[in-house]
């Protein structure tokens, strides 16, 4: 009897459980599954993007937590005002409360809310990327239908500083230009994920059986850029572009021994925190190729010295004009028949003298030397969007090419390539591949340097020294760029003034009457530490000679670099080379 009643009891319990099961799984499964899903969340844990640092570890670009403030128009539509309510309770009063905090106009926000309520929209961003503290103030108002979501934002404490190098990230935080694009894999890290269950208050239930993968933060990228030098160079270039009404300007400072780029300043620039208009992806230092003009004479000189065609003291007769394949060649200044030494040809930047030497040299050897110095190939800097420039093969040379290419016309190069040529001369004839990334830093701050830059000998150290000596006379009173001098230091360099081919507009692909004005030099000339290249594009409105518009900038930027790095003044006098014979 007892056994039977026990069985009946058991049966009733089983029946109860079964009917509950049917109720849960059979009658309203969707509703309960929904509740379950709401309580269980698959959360992506975004990996913090690495920073971009300057060579001293100062952040140039970093990610911070920011908040987006959104509105839920449907929720706001449901909110009703009680009689005598003081707290915001309808679209108008909510807008009035939230707009001033977000720096928006009350009318605009109210209008937005009204329009979205009318359209029965569920969601609307009011403001993206605001400071968390500010978001906290908004949330503390307890407004119905106003919420916040966490996001990360890329900020640049120095604003436009090195913007062309850094590039920018898109709305998803993915690098789209510059270092942000080139180092995307390193900077991005790896997102983590977690499955968590929450209680009604939104707290994680500790015994929920979570699966959890930690995010791996992105590594930081340390650049070779010196923030202070970069800022100074950027200021000066921007000023000079404005003062000469040039189209754009670039200044590159490079360490001679390591090939590290200490500053890569371009103007016009942009503020990556506030991109609204303009062409942001361009970094003219690497994407703009131009005819280098006279700065290419150094390569002609290196080839001629290497092949023993001339020595710095070889006398070259320079007529007022010179005809090559029907093309009449002039020098920048009108002169009679001159007897210049080869050093004088370089110092006075004589086109005719250079072409006469180049004719003896021939196309093949000049082409080989240009390629050897790195022209016609990407510099190896590693920034996206670099143009390799164009160096025509000797087979493609026309009859007048030998009158153009030795003096830097009919070829195109970028500013980094040119700086690298002079860094090679400064480094005793050994070309060190330019670099702008020093290494990556993990979260513990440990630096993993990039592999050592590739090196190759281009000319002998003796020839490099001869060229340096000749380039020192350029900066003398007899040369083309006395304004490039830096008090206390010996300076060697070369001016460049070339007609410019328009890169856009109706004159695209043709000489548009403007100029490329440049000065590239090294200091101290007796033991070079740095090379600085200053290139102004589209000059002509207010001065265009490289020795006039670019050389003073060189003097200031190089002077700043020498002082910053505590380079001891030369203490010796430059060699006095004979530039001309009577």
């Amino acid at each position: 009897m007892r056994l039977r009643s026990g069985l009946v009891l058991l049966g009733v319990v089983v029946l109860l459980l079964a009917s509950r099961l049917v109720q849960l799984q059979g009658l309203q499964p969707a509703a309960y599954a929904d509740i379950g899903v709401q309580r269980t969340q698959d959360i992506v844990l975004p990996a913090m993007r690495g920073q971009v640092l300057d060579r001293n570890g100062s952040p140039l670009a970093l990610s911070v937590v920011a908040m987006n403030i959104y509105a839920e128009p449907r929720t706001i539509a449901k909110a009703t005002c009680q009689k005598g309510a003081t707290a915001p309770c309808d679209a108008q009063s909510i807008a009035a409360a939230v707009a001033p905090l977000l720096g928006l106009k009350v009318g605009t926000v109210a209008g937005q809310l009204a329009a979205n309520i009318a359209a029965n929209k569920a969601f609307l961003y009011l403001k993206k990327g605001i400071d968390p503290a500010l978001a906290q103030r908004v949330m503390s108002l307890n407004l119905p239908g106003i919420g916040q979501e966490s996001t990360t934002q890329r900020v640049h404490p120095n604003h436009a500083l090195a913007a062309g190098v850094l590039g920018f990230t898109d709305y998803q935080g993915i690098g789209r230009a510059g270092i942000e694009l080139a180092m995307q894999q390193v900077l991005a890290g790896k997102d983590g994920r977690t499955v968590a269950r929450f209680d009604a208050a939104g707290r994680v239930i500790p015994t929920g059986g979570d699966s959890h993968v930690d995010p791996i933060a992105g590594k930081s990228v340390e650049l070779t850029i010196d923030r202070d030098l970069q800022w100074y160079a950027q200021q000066l270039v921007a000023d000079q572009v404005a003062a000469t009404q040039a189209k754009s300007g670039t200044a590159v400072v490079m360490d001679v021994k390591t090939g590290e780029v200490l500053a890569l300043a371009t103007a016009p620039s942009f503020d990556p925190d506030n991109r609204t208009t303009g062409n942001f992806t361009a970094n003219p230092a690497i994407s703009d190729v131009y005819e280098p003009g006279s700065v290419n004479k150094v390569i002609t000189a290196a080839a001629a010295l290497q092949d023993g065609i001339v020595t710095p003291q070889t006398v070259i007769t320079v007529p007022p004009t010179y005809k090559v394949a029907g093309h009449v060649l002039h020098d920048a200044e009108v002169h009679g028949v001159e007897h210049l030494t080869f050093a004088g040809v370089l110092a006075k930047s004589s086109n005719i003298g250079t072409v006469k030497v180049a004719q003896q040299l021939g196309a093949d050897r000049l082409y080989a030397m240009m390629r050897n110095f790195g022209f016609g190939a990407q510099s190896g800097l590693g920034l996206p969007g670099e143009s390799a420039g164009i160096i025509p093969k000797p087979a493609d040379w026309s009859g007048t090419s030998i009158a153009n290419i030795p003096i830097g016309q009919g070829i195109s190069v970028n500013a980094i390539q040119v700086a690298s040529v002079y860094a090679t001369i400064a480094n005793g004839g050994v070309r060190v591949q330019p670099s702008i990334v020093k290494g990556t830093r993990d979260s513990a701050g440990h630096l993993t340097p990039v592999p050592a830059a590739a090196q190759r000998r281009v000319v002998s150290s003796a020839i490099a020294a001869q060229i340096r000596a000749m380039l020192e006379s350029v900066v003398s009173e007899q040369g083309t760029a006395p304004l490039a001098a830096i008090p206390g230091y010996r300076v060697a360099g070369k001016t460049g003034t070339a007609q410019r081919v328009a890169t856009s507009g109706p004159m695209q692909g043709r000489y548009d009457g403007s100029f490329t004005s440049s000065f590239i030099g090294m200091a101290p000339a007796d033991a070079p530490r740095y090379v600085t290249a200053v290139v102004l594009q589209g000059t002509g409105a207010k001065g265009y000679f490289g020795g006039v518009v670019a050389a003073p900038l060189f003097s200031k930027i190089m002077g700043f670099a020498l002082r910053s790095y505590e380079v001891v003044p030369s203490g010796t006098k430059p060699p006095t080379l004979r530039l001309s014979v009577p």
Binding site: H159, A160, W231, V568, P569
Partner: protein, 195 residues
């Protein structure tokens, strides 16, 4: 063919094995009798107590454990919120410091204080006491040109309030008289911008 024959053989074989019906068991109820139960209530009480204690203790223990875990979870939640708040505060302060450290901010502040960029420094060589270089006093740059490119232009909400007047980072002539001329034996740079 062979399988069929095997199967039929098995069937025929199995029949005699299954065929015997269970022979009726003779009723022997009269001979089996329940053994009288031994009532030993004295031994039962402690056992019950132990079981109930274990049950109640286990339940209470579980409850306690769960409560503790939940309690810790609440604490964790609260502390997590506090940590988030503090890290945001730290982030905000770090941003302010970075903004103040920016070369543009330093330069404008220095200019406002009447400082000018340094001139060429001199170096004192310790080995022979020789002064290298010609020290000159810094002069204020003329030509105040506006620098739109490096002048920050963030929205007011994201810009820390303490970064100062960003819109006016032009070199202006110092308000005060220039600092005294540099001495002859400086061994460090005057700019003070390189660390």
């Amino acid at each position: 063919m062979s399988a069929m024959t095997n199967g039929s053989a098995a069937r025929t074989l199995s029949l005699p094995l299954r065929s015997p019906l269970p022979t009726p068991v003779p009723k022997r109820s009269s001979s089996l009798r329940l053994v009288p139960q031994r009532r030993s209530s004295a031994a039962r009480a402690p056992f019950l107590v132990v079981v109930v204690t274990l049950l109640v203790g286990g339940l209470l223990g579980l409850l306690l454990l769960n409560t503790l875990v939940a309690q810790d979870s609440f604490t964790l939640h609260d502390l997590g919120k506090q940590a988030t708040s503090l890290s945001r505060q730290e982030q905000e302060l770090a941003r302010q410091v970075q903004a103040l450290q920016a070369p543009a901010a330093l330069a404008s502040r220095a200019t406002a204080l009447g400082m000018v960029p340094g001139g060429p420094p001199a170096f004192l060589r310790l080995s022979d006491g020789k002064v290298l270089g010609q020290p000159t006093a810094g002069v204020a740059p003329v030509a105040p040109v506006t620098r739109p490119s490096v002048t920050p232009s963030t929205t007011p909400s994201t810009k820390p309030a303490t970064t100062g007047p960003h819109g006016s980072t032009t070199w202006t002539a110092p308000r005060q008289s220039p600092p005294p001329a540099a001495t002859n034996t400086r061994t460090t740079t005057q700019t003070g911008t390189h660390r």
